[in-house]
């Protein structure tokens, strides 16, 4: 057990190092000079002033040191929780900007992933034994899963937001309010949260339901289910076993999908102009704010790694077969 965990942790650590390295490389080897573009926005025309300011900012951002020193100081900063200073919001530290956006993204992602997964699985298991549901709602699920996400999100924003006017279509809260712990602000948060959440939830739901339905049908035909039925076991028991067995591939599916789901969240936030990490990515790209971009990617990588690790642990807890393999197994 612990050896298995140790091996897993090692792999995750390795992934982390590689991801951080690539993350550090991309902005430095990409064309375009962040300091120059920042200065050009300031319309500095005097060449001498430009020279001095460039040198100054290069020093602030640590861009004047040799590459390997930059790399090492990047790691050192990482462990101090210092990801550098944003160009776009100069001189605010990158970490502060990200931490401000993270709650929005998490509040959107976690309920959307968890709820769509739970509801989709139960719904799929239910559809597997109802002909009517199987023939009506599942095809709708196929359509939903096949629809390009942005189009669906735009459609929702347009129909529920603009035409029906039920929900606001942009922002994390009403721009007329200042953040605070009062009811008005909280309700504004919820109303703004609902559409982006719903669009993510709906899109993910169909996929889970379809997967679960197929798995349940397969499990109900499996030998152990046939045997139980031959011994007169009630449907409830057979279904419970089938559901638990069918969950295992769905959990793996969740682990595989996590990366994609987070990309989906970027689109959601951009479509609904939601103040989370996704919008931040777009803004920092547009403004060539590589330090911010680098920080966000780092957060995403860490998030995906943690989520995958949690799923790994959960899988070990619920599937005895992985546990047996870990301890060497006896036959």
């Amino acid at each position: 057990m612990w050896r298995y965990m140790g091996r897993k942790l090692f792999v995750y650590a390795l992934t982390f190092v590689v991801a951080v390295t690539i993350n550090w490389m991309i902005p430095r080897f990409m064309p375009g000079d962040p300091v120059r573009s920042m200065l050009s926005r300031g319309s500095v025309s005097d060449p001498e002033a430009l020279e001095r300011m460039t040198a100054y900012y290069n020093e602030v951002f640590g861009l004047d040191a040799p590459l390997h020193e930059q790399y090492l100081s990047f790691w050192a900063g990482l462990f101090r929780g210092d990801l550098g200073i944003s160009v776009m919001f100069y001189p605010e530290p990158v970490v502060d900007i990200i931490l401000r956006a993270v709650p929005y993204t998490l509040a959107l992602l976690v309920p959307a992933i968890v709820l769509s997964w739970i509801v989709g699985n139960h719904f799929g298991a239910f559809a597997a034994r109802s002909k009517v549901l199987d023939n009506t709602i599942l095809p709708a699920g196929y359509v939903l899963t096949a629809t390009p996400y942005m189009w669906l999100a735009l459609l929702m924003a347009w129909s529920l937001g603009i035409v029906a006017g039920v929900f606001p279509t942009a922002g994390g809260y009403s721009f007329a309010l200042t953040p605070g712990a009062n009811w008005e602000f909280v309700s504004s948060l919820i109303v703004h949260w609902f559409l982006p959440f719903l669009s993510m939830f709906v899109v993910a739901l169909g996929g889970w339901a379809i997967g679960m339905r197929n798995m349940i049908i397969y499990e109900l035909e499996d030998d152990y289910a046939t045997y139980l039925r031959a011994l007169g076991a009630p449907r409830r028991l057979v279904r419970r076993y089938a559901f638990r067995n069918a969950m295992l591939p769905q959990i793996t599916g969740l682990a595989v999908q996590l990366g994609t789901i987070i990309t989906g969240a970027l689109l959601t936030e951009i479509v609904f102009n939601y103040p989370g990490l996704g919008t931040l990515v777009l803004d920092s790209l547009n403004n060539r704010d590589f330090f911010l971009l680098q920080g966000i990617f780092l957060f995403v990588v860490v998030g995906v790694l943690i989520a995958n690790f949690v799923i790994d642990v959960v899988y070990v807890l619920i599937d005895p077969r992985t546990r047996v393999q870990m301890t060497g197994g006896s036959s």
Binding site: N245, P320, V324, S330
Partner: protein, 317 residues
Amino acid sequence: MSLHVNDLKVHYRTLRGDVHAIDGVTFSLEDGEIMGLVGESGCGKSTLGKSLIRLDSQMRHVGGTVELDGRGVPIADDDAMVPLRYHEVSLIPQYAMSALNPIRRIGRMIDELLRARGVRPADKADELRRRLELVGLEPDVLRRFPIELSGGMKQRVVMVLSTLLDPSLLIADEVTSALDVSTQRSVAESLVEFRDRGYVRSMVFVTHDVSLVYQIADTIMVMYAGHVAEKGPADSIVSEPRHPYTQMLLSALPEVGSTSGERLQGIPGTPPGLLDPPTGCRFRARCPMAFDKCAERPPLVETAPGHWSACWKTGGE
């Protein structure tokens, strides 16, 4: 009289029409009798075994009755069969190695099944341990997952589980097919022991292995293409078979220690398709003794006490 099957007809529904898998099968089983049910693949022997406990979704009961211990068995009514299943009729399936839920500890799965069938697991706990020991398993297997057991061990767990409520009739469907010869022997002997100890009253032992069935069965029933060809005491079926099919089936078996260099005789031809079965005796096309009368279906007649045969040549004499 423990089991009484009268003119049972079970068909498979397929897209191309009904497959007449069992087409008028009549036989009886005494208390304490172990009946070996033999025949080649597709003759309907497994279908017969299954129809006595649970019809698949494609299987349809077309006619005939089944009676167990003087009471009718409503094999066509899935819900009405539930009280009988496990308590009265039980099954050791062909797929015993994969019959246990892979993600439940065996003991917990047994408890859940018993509770679902209205039996308090605590009442059966001692008996369960005793029987596991009888088949050579430590009670410790109850705390393990199926994956931790070998194929033979799983098979034995299923044997004990299936017979735990002392059913009146046990259907053992090809239980030895996937086992090596020595394990086959011990499984077959355990089943005889179960009968001797009264764990099961009578048993239908479905197999295609005539030599194995001869060692454990009291009687043997030979099926061919959905019909009963012959039924009788194991000894007389093997030593003096009446039906030409049985004769040819037995002559196709190798004999241990045989020194003559004779090649074994197979039965030429293949069994008829059961989608649209021929009229009359179904073995007619492959039978060397066939004559005009075989165009009519031969009745199953008693040619010697307890020995029944369906052939115009042997029965009609």
